[in-house]
């Protein structure tokens, strides 16, 4: 931590596997990161890179079996969340740590009105009575920018549009003044104009409430707009970690560099032909013994086939898990 602030959430060496009939799938391999108070940490990766599974492992949201958190520690509020009893974990979930899921269509209960669903965490975690909870629920709906809040509390999820439902989800996650908000692809299912509304809302809420946010996405454009720091995941590992400006200006891992090149933009020069990353993302059927990106990498060499690179510290809070040093254009020292 360069600025010395104590992290609110500290994840070390997390490893999660899924036991399947075909063998163990190593979904999360030795993932470590720290979340500082009030910052927004972006987590980028393609589908299957392990970004959602990482976050769900933290809160014990994965069904076990098949999932199993094998190793690691998750320090929050002085406790290791991987070892506390289920009751304590329940207190944390939806209380001090809020969660916004990707699909607002399926994550709200269709048979309860939204007022009920916002009041549920308030009554369970904060011990408010029905009347107090209703008042707070109205405030929350206003906070996330739903007009006519008192009236809308009585409405059911199907009466809201996609963007509005996502606002309701955010209201639920914010209900108990969380220290940490984990948002798993919260804008992926939404249209761009609605996405812009939600991003705007999020910036506004952060400045008002000052919570730390983990924002999972596969869209580098979204990340560029809101994140303070970014971790890039590939094959269940963190391959690069840097402050947002540094990452976009000076990407060090070949995967990040390739990813930044493949996405077309609406400003600037239009490429005559898109750069592509050959091949497919890996399916992690074996414990990683080599770099997961080796088969698609344009600078891979012998060592990448034999060892899995550790995260090399590059200074300025930037690290990358790659044996190739983009700065010198040659292999790193052992």
């Amino acid at each position: 931590m360069p600025d010395g602030a104590l992290p609110v959430l500290d994840v070390r060496g997390l490893k999660t596997i899924f036991q399947t009939r075909a063998g163990d799938v190593h979904a999360v391999n030795d993932v470590s990161f720290a979340l500082k108070p009030g910052e927004l940490l972006g987590v980028v990766g393609e589908s299957g890179s392990g970004k959602s599974v990482t976050m769900m492992s933290l809160l014990g949201l994965l069904p076990s079996p098949p999932a199993q958190v094998e190793r690691g520690s998750v320090t929050f509020d002085g406790k290791n969340l991987l070892q506390v009893d289920p009751e304590t974990l329940r207190q944390v979930r939806g209380g001090k740590i809020g969660f916004v899921f990707q699909d607002p269509m399926t994550s709200l209960n269709p048979v309860f009105n939204v007022g009920n669903q916002i009041m549920e965490p308030l009554r369970k975690h904060m011990g408010l009575n029905k009347r107090q909870a209703a008042v707070r629920a109205k405030e929350l709906l206003e906070l996330v920018g739903i007009p006519d809040a008192a009236q809308r509390l009585k409405d059911y999820p199907h009466q809201f549009s996609g963007g509005m439902r996502q606002r309701v989800m955010i209201a639920i996650a914010l209900a108990c003044d969380p220290k940490v908000l984990i948002a798993d692809e919260p804008t992926t299912a939404l249209d761009v104009t609605i996405q812009a509304q939600i991003l705007d809302l999020m910036k506004d809420l952060r400045s008002k409430l000052g919570m730390a946010v983990i924002w999972i996405t596969h869209d580098l454009g979204v990340i560029a707009g809101i994140a303070d720091r970014v971790i890039v995941m590939y094959g269940g590992q963190v391959v690069e970690h840097a402050p947002v400006k540094e990452l976009f200006k000076n990407p060090q891992h070949p995967y990040t560099r390739a990813l930044l090149k493949t996405i077309p933009t609406i400003h600037g020069e239009r490429a005559a032909r898109l750069t592509i990353i050959e091949g497919q993302p890996p399916i992690m059927m074996d414990a990683p013994s080599a770099c997961p990106f080796r088969d698609r990498c344009d600078v891979a060499f012998d060592r990448c086939q034999q060892e899995n690179p550790p995260r090399y510290d590059l200074g300025n809070g930037h690290d990358a898990a790659c044996f190739f040093d983009a700065r010198t254009g040659g292999p790193r020292d052992a």
């Binding site: 393609e46 589908s47 549009s161 963007g163 509005m164 249209d191 761009v192 104009t193 609605i194 996405q195 812009a196 509304q197 991003l199 705007d200 596969h218 869209d219 580098l220 454009g221 979204v222 990340i223 560029a224 707009g225 947002v244 400006k245 976009f248 200006k249 390739a258 990813l259 930044l260 493949t262 996405i263 077309p264 933009t265 609406i266 400003h267 239009r270 490429a271 032909r273 898109l274 750069t275 592509i276 990353i277 050959e278 497919q280 993302p281």
Partner: protein
């Protein structure tokens, strides 16, 4: 880009696709969803016309209606010199080989119980009289063309990744040597690193076979890459149609402006400088569109006239069409002159 010698391969005039709503005990018809409500455009030979818009704006319905996958409510569709808008389905069948479709979800659009070979071969079975061996050869050629290994011909779709499945869908669409392909969000279900592979493939095939695409997408940055011209849809209508560069450099319609400004910029140093127009509210329901201009409920530069009179869709600059009252005076230069002259006269008197 605007090659005058090119002629339209597809021309669509005032296409309407309304879906009836039935309700009540007697299932009476109580209204209709105007999914596509009076759309006109041409697709030139060899070009890629992109249809963009938010979900629910009718872009997919429009794409499907153009191929007559629906029985349209009204309008004319002319593909390669043949009027198909009013043709009955049995008459359409022999015309199907010229027009094909690539669907959005490669998972759902491939039959899980057919092998790749059987999937790609099916159109050949239906529409040609080739021998089994000729068909198998053709399947092999198609698999080569889309970059699939011929050895995988006997495998089933589940054995392939998303990007590979989309390649199977593309090979199937190519089987009958079509001239015109409607690509309905072919990359939306794919990962970013795979999207570029499929887009490059579609571009290569266009060069190789001289294809014409109607490319439906909501991804404006990818559209900028692939399009020759872009049509922007909002609530069942085309609000703006322009050549790619012109549209991105200087959008005319307020909705296009808002849409472009909402696209996240993958560069944090630029991000702060981008002037965002954040639209309030949601898209109105197409079963009950607002009076006047469809966009008047969310438009940042709304005027009184917008709430009463529907703007006419017309050419305001060469090659650039839009439907917006803001461009009323520029639309018809002669009318503008007359108005100016009359005011001049008034000032003289």
């Amino acid at each position: 880009m605007l090659d005058e010698t090119r002629k339209p391969l597809v021309s669509v005039r005032d296409l309407k696709m309304h879906f009836p709503i039935y309700a009540g005990l007697l299932r009476r018809r109580v209204g209709e969803v105007k999914a596509v409500d009076g759309v006109s455009f041409d697709v030139m030979e060899g070009e890629t016309l992109c249809l963009v818009g938010e979900s629910g704006c009718g872009k997919s319905t429009c794409g499907r209606a153009v191929l007559r996958l629906y029985d349209i409510t009204s309008g004319q569709i002319n593909i390669d010199g043949q009027e198909i808008g009013s043709a009955p389905q049995p008459k359409l069948r022999p015309m199907r080989p010229t027009m094909q479709m690539v669907f959005q979800d490669p998972q759902a659009s491939l039959n899980p119980r057919m092998t790749v070979e059987a999937i790609i071969k099916e159109p050949l079975d239906e529409h040609t009289k080739l021998s089994e061996k000729e068909k198998r050869d053709k399947v092999g050629e198609l698999m080569d063309a889309v970059g699939l290994n011929r050895k995988f011909a006997k495998r089933y779709p589940h054995a392939f990744s998303g990007g590979q499945r989309q390649r199977i869908g593309i090979a199937r669409a190519l089987a009958l040597n079509p001239k015109f392909i409607v690509c309905d969000e072919p990359i939306a279900a794919l990962d970013v690193s795979i999207q570029a592979q499929v887009v490059n493939l579609l571009e290569d095939l266009q060069d190789q076979f001289g294809l014409t695409y109607l490319f439906i997408s909501h991804d404006l940055s990818m559209v900028r890459h692939i399009a020759t011209r872009v049509a922007v849809m909002y609530l069942g209508k085309v609000v703006e149609l322009a050549p790619r560069e012109a549209l991105y450099a200087d959008p005319l319609h307020p909705y296009t402006k808002a849409l472009l400004s909402a696209v996240p910029e993958p560069d944090p140093s630029l991000e702060g400088k981008v002037e965002r127009i954040i639209l309030k509210g949601d898209v109105p329901s197409p079963s009950n569109p607002p009076q006047g201009c469809n966009f008047c409920t969310r438009c940042p530069s709304v005027m009184d006239i917008c709430k009463q009179v529907e703007p006419e869709y017309r050419e305001v600059k060469p090659g650039r069409f839009t439907a917006c009252h803001l461009y009323n005076d520029t639309a018809d230069p002669t009318a503008g002159h007359e108005a100016q002259e009359s005011t001049n006269k008034e000032s003289l008197t």
